[in-house]
């Protein structure tokens, strides 16, 4: 281990925390390599790989041709050769050319090989809206991935998780899709970078971000901050906020324990409402916690429309008021 693990608590943004986590993983394991469009000299369009090209060189930080299918496909080959590629997909909407390699190859290879092949590939995807971007730069495609057996899917809501979970994703022998909430890249927090990786909360675990007794508000990625704000804003009720962290698999033990305490559940995500993560969570919680529920599970999400032009995104994205409206609906029962 190198100097970056010396006892140190640093104030980091989410972007810088992912960067620091990548750096520590690269220092710890020479097989970890970064690949993607503009990840080298530029340091990525969000600067998440800033400085890595300079310090680790072009063999380990690869500016790839502009071809997402090529990025994921060659990452599979590199993984077969013993490397641990961390691929940056520049924006959520640019993932789709790589859908074939991801869904037909990456996700299934281990099962097809009877467990002989392992593909420790990480796909880092900045996702979600709220930054006033042009088309294809604000998508929330996580449900497609969660619906694909063979992929682990996680997302982060704060710098601490960003620092640890990127390292856990890289350490996993399974393919991990790592969603980064781009509108929260500049959120800051203290990160104690001195602890050992093994001490971090497991990647698959949900986390109670705020304790409460009357209702569970479940969110992940960019919506966790909105959920916490909603919990603060509702002075009539004691709202518990659960940060899901892992989208696939979902930590239903933590989710259901919370729901059994509160009796009510609201799930919020940016992605279109129908057939989204909220639907899966509602179904499972209804099965497992039926007698604890005092209201149906309420979902708050984006509309079932293409992501709109940016001048309409505040109407598309579930905001504080929309989340509180969901909370009110749950208390109406």
């Amino acid at each position: 281990m190198s100097g970056t693990t010396s006892a140190n608590a640093a104030k980091l943004t989410i972007g810088k925390a992912v960067n620091a986590g990548l750096r520590r993983a690269m220092e710890a394991d020479p097989k970890v390599i970064i690949m993607g469009e503009d990840v080298g000299r530029l340091g990525g369009v969000f600067r998440v790989t800033d400085g890595l090209y300079k310090d680790f060189g072009a063999d380990r930080v690869i500016d790839t041709p502009l071809a997402e299918s090529g990025i994921v496909g060659t990452a599979i080959g590199l993984a077969m050769r013993g490397y641990r590629p961390v691929c940056e997909i520049q924006f959520d909407g640019f993932f789709f050319p790589a859908a074939n390699q991801t869904f037909t190859q990456l996700a299934k290879m281990r099962a097809r090989s009877g467990g002989r092949l392992r593909l420790p590939v990480v796909l880092r995807i900045p996702y979600g809206g709220g930054i006033g971007a042009v088309e294809h730069h604000s998508e929330s495609p996580e449900a497609y991935f969660a619906h694909t057996p063979g992929l682990r899917v996680v997302t982060v809501a704060n710098p601490v998780d960003s620092y640890w979970m990127i390292q856990q994703a890289i350490a996993s022998d399974d393919p991990v899709v790592f969603f980064e909430p781009k509108r929260r890249y500049y959120e800051k927090a203290e990160v104690d970078t001195s602890a050992p990786l093994e001490a971090a909360t497991p990647m698959g675990a949900a986390r109670v971000a705020r304790a409460g007794t009357d209702l569970t508000l479940l969110a992940y990625g960019p919506m966790v901050k909105t959920a916490l704000q909603a919990a603060e804003a509702d002075t009539d009720h004691s709202i518990e906020v659960v940060d899901l962290r892992s989208i696939s698999p979902v930590d239903f033990a933590t989710v259901c324990a919370s729901v059994r305490r509160t009796g009510r559940l609201v799930v919020a995500h940016e992605a279109p409402l129908s057939s989204g993560l909220g639907a899966e969570i509602a179904a499972r919680v209804t099965e497992d916690c039926f007698y604890a529920l005092e209201a149906p599970v309420i979902r708050v999400g984006g509309f079932d429309t293409p992501y709109p032009p940016s001048r309409l995104e505040e109407h598309y994205l579930p905001d504080l008021d929309r989340v509180l409206d969901g909370v009110d609906r749950a208390f109406a029962y």
Binding site: E37, V45, D63, P65, L66, A67, V134, F303, H315
Partner: protein, 369 residues
């Protein structure tokens, strides 16, 4: 093992110094009036572009992808198109949009965030901008296959053109488009503006061979043209379109040019490229060379240049005013045009959101947003 390539031939009809040169394969005889028209096009699209960058800086646009340096490639190829032709652009092709009669308001609306489209492709023979790199090349190949099946070829037939950059030549879709066009002998021209940079990645990260040479492997001709020479771009594109029109299949044109600005207004090119390169290309400026030719040969006088300047001033003013006047869409527009036929789930959501918005009436002007 290394493969060496000879310095590729670059079709040029107007040198950076403003000298006309003849090319046996691409004769071009333009009247003084036509030349002045091209000059006016170049100046006016550059002005729209300059204004748009400034509008982004003051927050009136969310983003802008500047065409600075690529005016000749776009005006030359755009003026080669006939009304019945169909173009499939990328997202930086404001000069082609100009040639196809797409109003600057529509382009500004896209980058302001009031629309994801902005115009009716059928009105202009100009498809919507495409952001996911290379996707439109396949649409162009397919459209051209339709033209073929319609029997719309011949001397006065329809040709198709698609625009993309050097980065796009790495995408599977683009290469698949080359192949579909080739095996079908489809009437499509692939117009690649090689501006040397895909955001921060220089050409050598995308291709080991010059782009135009890719065509040979697919079985159709590839040509490299001086992308800062509006006349060469016009002549070469006109010939390629005519070949397509007459049923002789696809052509790949590599317009060798340079992205003088940032990738977009979000980009900072000082992080990855040196200013000496910029200076070198500044000497090849597409507008300066035509200006030099026109004034030296007396094909345009000072009054003409002054009139174009005045027109650019006036256009710049209109661009600024038009941009600020673009109305935001209405909230319930969200639900429009997702499907051709009524869709029960979306109608529910539209009604629900209308009720939700109405619930804020009287609570506060903006409903607490």
């Amino acid at each position: 093992m290394s493969v060496t390539h000879e310095e590729p031939e670059l079709i040029q009809l107007l040198t950076p110094e403003g000298e006309l040169v003849e090319h046996p394969d691409y004769p071009l005889d333009l009247s003084a009036e036509e030349l002045r028209g091209m000059y006016r096009d170049l100046v006016l699209v550059r002005r729209i572009d300059t204004e748009a960058v400034a509008l982004q800086r003051v927050g009136e646009l969310g983003l802008w992808a500047s065409l600075l340096g690529q005016e000749a490639a776009q005006i030359g190829s755009g003026r080669a198109l006939r009304p019945q032709d169909m173009a499939f652009p990328s997202y930086r092709d404001h000069g082609v949009a100009w040639c196809r009669g797409v109003d600057h308001k529509a382009l500004l609306g896209l980058y302001r965030g009031v629309t994801n489209g902005g115009w009716d492709p059928a009105d202009h023979g100009f498809h919507l901008y495409t952001i996911v790199i290379g996707s439109q090349a396949l649409h162009a190949a397919g459209y051209a296959m339709g033209v073929q099946r319609d029997g719309a070829l011949g001397d006065d037939g329809t040709a198709v053109i698609t625009y993309f950059g050097d980065g796009a030549t790495s995408q599977g879709d683009t290469n698949e488009a080359f192949n579909f066009a080739a095996v079908n002998n489809a009437p499509v021209v692939f117009f690649c503006q090689n501006n040397q940079w895909a955001i921060s990645e220089p050409m050598e990260r995308q291709s080991r061979v010059p782009i135009y040479q890719r065509a040979a492997g697919f079985g159709f001709p590839g040509i490299r043209v001086d992308g800062n020479d509006v006349l060469a771009c016009l002549a070469v594109t006109r010939a390629a379109l005519q070949n397509a029109r007459e049923g002789q299949g696809p052509t790949l044109i590599e317009a060798f040019t340079y992205r003088m600005g940032a990738h977009t207004t979000n980009d900072d090119p000082t992080r990855y490229r040196v200013s000496a390169e910029l200076e070198e290309w500044r000497r090849k400026d597409p507008i300066a060379r035509l200006h030099s030719h026109l004034s030296r040969t007396g094909r345009a006088d000072d009054a003409f240049f002054a009139a174009v300047e005045a027109e650019a001033e006036e256009l710049g003013e209109r661009v600024r005013a038009d941009c600020r006047a673009l109305p935001d869409p209405e909230p319930l527009d969200l639900f429009d045009n997702v499907y051709a036929d009524p869709h029960v789930r979306l109608e529910e959501q539209r009604a629900g959101y209308a009720d939700y918005l109405a619930s804020f009436d009287g609570v506060g002007a903006e409903g607490g947003r």
